[in-house]
């Protein structure tokens, strides 16, 4: 059974450690906030200018002047702070943020990431992604392992326009957990019931398999 979006988020949440400042991208990464274990204190950074992002507001708390980078209404928490976009990216560029979790369309075996543009088709812009990947101390990517037509998104070289070079450290897909090493994607864990062969077949880039590969524990 491949992991669904919430299970990918739940697995990534295990990477979040006490005391971290974390930036969560749009999509699956946003869901990670729902699975941060009890007793672990983290501060979520929203790049539009907020540290200490809280849960969605109740109906009577909704404030148009308080949104996250995905333009969703949110709340602040005790100890939150609000600042300008220049200060926000000062935090990011200055490597004050400990962990960045974001989505991707493609990742190469060298850790290059592509997630902002499909030439001739989709032009949404990079938003803060290029700044985040260029300066993050640690980047975890949440993504689907293959495209709808079955083609691999984990490649030797990215085919889509690059967002950043050699920056991804870890990848959690619907099929497995991998680490980016000098020699390629190192397989760490597989989704329950998914075989090493399944993962090998779905991975175009170099896949390193050492010893017994355990199942993901959620």
């Amino acid at each position: 059974m491949a992991l669904d979006k919430n299970q990918i988020a739940k697995r990534i949440a295990k990477e979040v450690k006490n005391g971290m400042y974390v930036n969560l991208g749009i999509g699956i990464p946003t869901l990670v906030a729902n699975y941060i274990p009890h007793g672990i204190e983290v501060v979520l950074q929203s790049e539009n200018g907020l540290l200490g992002m809280g849960p969605f507001p109740t109906e009577d708390q909704v404030d148009a002047d308080l949104i996250n980078a995905g333009k969703q209404t949110i709340t602040t928490l005790p100890g939150s702070s609000i600042f300008s976009s220049a200060d926000s990216f000062g935090m990011i560029r200055g490597e004050h943020v400990d962990l960045t979790i974001l989505g991707a369309m493609e990742v190469s075996e060298k850790g290059d990431i592509a997630n902002w543009k499909i030439p001739g088709k989709m032009v949404k812009g990079m938003g803060g992604a290029m700044d985040l990947v260029a300066s993050a101390k640690n980047i975890i990517v949440a993504m689907q392992h293959t495209a709808r037509d079955g083609s691999s998104k984990l490649l030797k070289e990215c085919t889509l326009p690059i967002t950043g070079l050699q920056c991804v450290k870890k990848i959690v897909t619907d099929l497995c957990v991998m680490e980016v090493t000098d020699k390629g994607f190192k397989l760490l864990e597989r989704a329950p019931g998914v075989t090493v062969e399944d993962i090998q077949k779905a991975t175009e880039g170099t896949l390193i398999i050492e010893g017994e590969i355990p199942e993901v524990e959620l």
């Binding site: 200018g49 148009a64 032009v123 700044d131 950043g164």
Partner: protein, 232 residues
């Protein structure tokens, strides 16, 4: 104290002409200068270069200016919320420069602070770096990025005083403080305009020196793009 007050948006936008470069504050539809955008629409000025993090949505914010083909070039970081924008871009009607969000913020800040260029790692090795000088510092590669300045900067604040001092609220702050510093003429619209002396100087986000014209806006819609709520 110098009085920066003008009557309304009409007076605040005097001198805006075809072909000008404008900055517009806001992130998504949060903290956008709604009254100034409405006045730009009424004036019908065209061939504008607009610098703003986003391009609004189809029927609100900068999206309204796009619909009326008033924008020649858009400089932004993320435009995903606007189908008309994407259409004009893919068909070649609209010129677009997409730049990383932090680079955009810093280029505007640099413009206001008199720093013509700086180095950032964002975009190195990507098409953003095409044609730009790159340099290595401490073993890491950086791109040189130049400042941005504008003929007019339009910003939105929560409170302001007649001296042009501004206080923003929540994440409606975003790009507004930097843009306020980078306009030859900066127009601030505020929800509440008070006499100089009523705002605590310790609480000011944008000092009045950066603001040339200030007015109290009206009928703020403050449209929400993604209304997300939880059960009480």
């Amino acid at each position: 104290m110098i009085n920066k007050t003008v009557k309304n948006a009409q007076e605040a936008l005097q001198g805006v002409q075809d072909g000008m470069t404008l900055m517009l504050g806001g992130f998504g539809l949060c903290g956008i200068p709604e009254n100034s955008i409405a006045e730009l629409l009424r004036l019908g000025v065209k061939d504008l270069t607009c610098i703003s993090n986003n391009a609004g949505v189809d029927d609100f914010g900068i999206g309204l200016l796009l619909q009326k083909r008033q924008v020649k070039k858009m400089i932004a970081s993320y435009v995903g919320e606007n189908a008309e924008f994407e259409r004009q871009l893919l068909s070649g009607e609209l010129e677009v420069e997409l730049i990383p969000q932090g680079t955009l913020a810093e280029r505007v800040r640099a413009g206001g602070a008199g720093i013509p260029a700086f180095f950032t790692p964002a975009g190195y090795g990507t098409e953003v770096g095409n044609g730009k000088e790159s340099r290595e510092f401490n073993g890491k590669m950086y791109l040189m990025e130049e400042w941005l300045r504008a003929d007019f900067a339009f910003v939105k604040a929560w409170k302001g005083d007649t001296a042009g001092n501004l206080i923003y609220k929540g994440t409606a702050r975003n790009f507004n403080p930097m843009m306020a510093t980078a306009g030859k003429i900066t127009v601030a619209e505020v929800e509440e305009l008070v006499p100089a002396g009523e705002l605590d100087p310790n609480m000011i986000h944008t000092p009045g020196i950066f603001v040339q014209r200030i007015f109290q806006g009206e009928k703020y819609e403050k449209r929400i793009e993604q209304r997300t709520v939880r059960q009480a």
